[in-house]
């Protein structure tokens, strides 16, 4: 990695810290080694000690802080996901997560706009992100597209039907993401089909959809945010369903985060989001692979 990328990385992290501190967020540090992550069908964690796992996201502990009354918190921490390695994936990567009590996903979208404009202004000479030689201007008006609209426009098919028949991810990767590469502004893809809700709340006016969005820059997925589910019964049912699907696919059954479930009813209506810091540095530096923005690749350790 060139020295300039390491310097840029430090500047991006500093800009993130300054931005959230100015916005009245408290920077927190939660344990990286935890008894249980949120079980998800497609995310595998590393079990490093009997009954202890490396976090795949700081969400469990950060939401428990919301239950204890914290209003606005952010954290920059390392996360580990087994088996994830590619030009935009590292098994160990850096995640920024922030949470707001008494908020929904709409406010997080506004946070994204403020954060990206700050990072671009502080760290990039011309104030625009770049990827594949294309410029993405965070200061222009952002594009908001619903998942359904994107599927109809770019894959000529229905998003809800694709979620049912198991082709959703494949179409997203082969049709939608390449189409999003052509946008010169950040794109917010909103309202995922309920089967892709993960830990998000369903829309009260249309429970076929979840209040979940993804932020894309030039087709690169940068952040995933949602209005948080705070119903412990519903959350437990979703974790158990994830485990049933894992069992059906011959994958390891994961322990449930019991203390989180116990405390969840104390969580106010909240919104939370995870943003890949390495990918933000990629866009800031205008480089194409994640290998170009870390001090060491796992293969050279």
């Amino acid at each position: 990695m060139p020295q300039s990328a390491l310097i840029l990385r430090a500047q991006v992290v500093q800009a993130i810290r300054q931005y959230f501190t100015e916005q009245g967020f408290l920077e927190v540090e939660t344990p990286l080694l935890i008894p249980a992550n949120a079980p998800e069908e497609h995310i595998d964690s590393f079990t490093v000690l009997p009954c202890w796992q490396l976090q795949t996201s700081p969400e469990i502990c950060m939401k428990r802080l919301l239950c204890r009354g914290h209003q606005r918190i952010f954290q920059i921490s390392h996360c580990w996901r087994a088996g994830e390695r590619g030009s935009r994936h590292l098994t160990e990567f850096t995640m920024l997560e922030w949470y707001r009590a008494d908020a929904d996903y709409g406010i997080l979208m506004a946070d994204c706009v403020g954060l990206l404009r700050r990072v671009a202004a502080s760290c990039i000479a011309d104030g625009t992100f770049s990827r594949f030689g294309k410029k993405i201007d965070p200061h222009a008006k952002w594009a908001h597209i619903s998942v359904q609209e994107a599927f109809l426009r770019f894959a000529q098919t229905d998003a809800l039907a694709s979620a049912e028949n198991g082709r959703f991810d494949e179409l997203l990767v082969s049709q939608i993401e390449p189409a999003l590469e052509n946008f010169m502004v950040p794109v917010i893809l909103t309202d995922y089909p309920a089967p892709m809700a993960a830990l998000s709340r369903l829309k009260s006016n249309d429970p076929r959809l979840a209040e979940r969005f993804e932020l894309y820059l030039a087709g690169l997925e940068l952040a995933n945010g949602f209005s948080e589910l705070n119903d412990p019964q519903e959350q437990r049912a979703r974790f158990e369903e994830a485990n049933q699907r894992r069992a059906a696919a011959d994958r390891q059954i994961l322990p449930l985060p019991e203390r989180f479930l116990d405390e969840l009813s104390a969580m106010p209506p909240s919104a939370g989001i995870a943003l890949g810091v390495d990918r933000l540095v990629m866009l800031t530096a205008g480089v194409e692979t994640i290998d170009d923005v870390v001090a060491f690749r796992p293969e050279e350790l």
Binding site: R88, D169, L172, A198
Partner: protein, 187 residues
């Protein structure tokens, strides 16, 4: 069998009966979604490209290739016949598969033929071959056009640029990787 996680740039595999070369490969995973593998491949027979997205758990048959020393014998229509130097077995290759090598093939040229099963799918020539110039215009002394090369037709019918001093019937050395004139054969 190869699993999708075994694929990488350069892997050769069989799809719908044809051998394909993986030209780019990436692990992708949409947020909260399943692991997928984006793969770009090139058909090793006709050069057609193919983009596919695979899920983990898919399996592929590797395409085993064999390269054999052969001698080019003759051409009939669009069929080129080669003979195995060890077994003396003859194989026939379509012009498409011979590709650009056809411009530099003379009878009895020694080549390497790439076989997919029994099917010849490619020819590798020596890096340099000597070919005779069949036709080229004479060099006009005092030519002021400033041109430092002129067209020449080789005995295979291939036309390329050669230096102005090259004459008809002369043997020249051609770099088969670029298809360009390299030097004249001293002698």
């Amino acid at each position: 069998m190869l699993s999708v996680a075994d694929l990488k740039k350069g892997t050769k595999l069989i799809i719908d009966g044809d051998p394909y070369l993986v030209t780019s490969f990436d692990f992708v995973k949409p947020g909260k979604g399943q692991a997928l593998y984006k793969c770009k491949m090139k058909n090793m027979i006709n050069g057609a490209t193919l983009d596919r997205t695979y899920r983990s758990g898919e399996n592929f048959e590797p395409a085993s290739m064999d390269e054999r020393d052969m001698e080019y014998l003759y051409k009939e229509g669009t069929h080129y016949t080669f003979m195995d130097q060890e077994s003396y077995e003859q194989v026939v290759m379509e012009e498409d598969a011979v590709g650009d090598a056809k411009h530099f093939l003379l009878e009895n040229t020694k080549v390497a033929v790439l076989l997919f099963g029994d099917k010849p799918i490619g020819v590798t020539l020596p890096n340099f071959v000597n070919l005779r110039v069949l036709q080229t215009d004479p060099w006009v002394k005092g030519d002021t056009s400033g041109s430092d090369s002129k067209p020449a037709t080789l005995e295979t019918g291939y036309v390329l640029r050669v230096p102005p001093f090259i004459e008809e019937n002369e043997l020249v050395v051609i770099d088969t990787r670029t298809g360009e004139y390299s030097t004249r054969v001293k002698g």
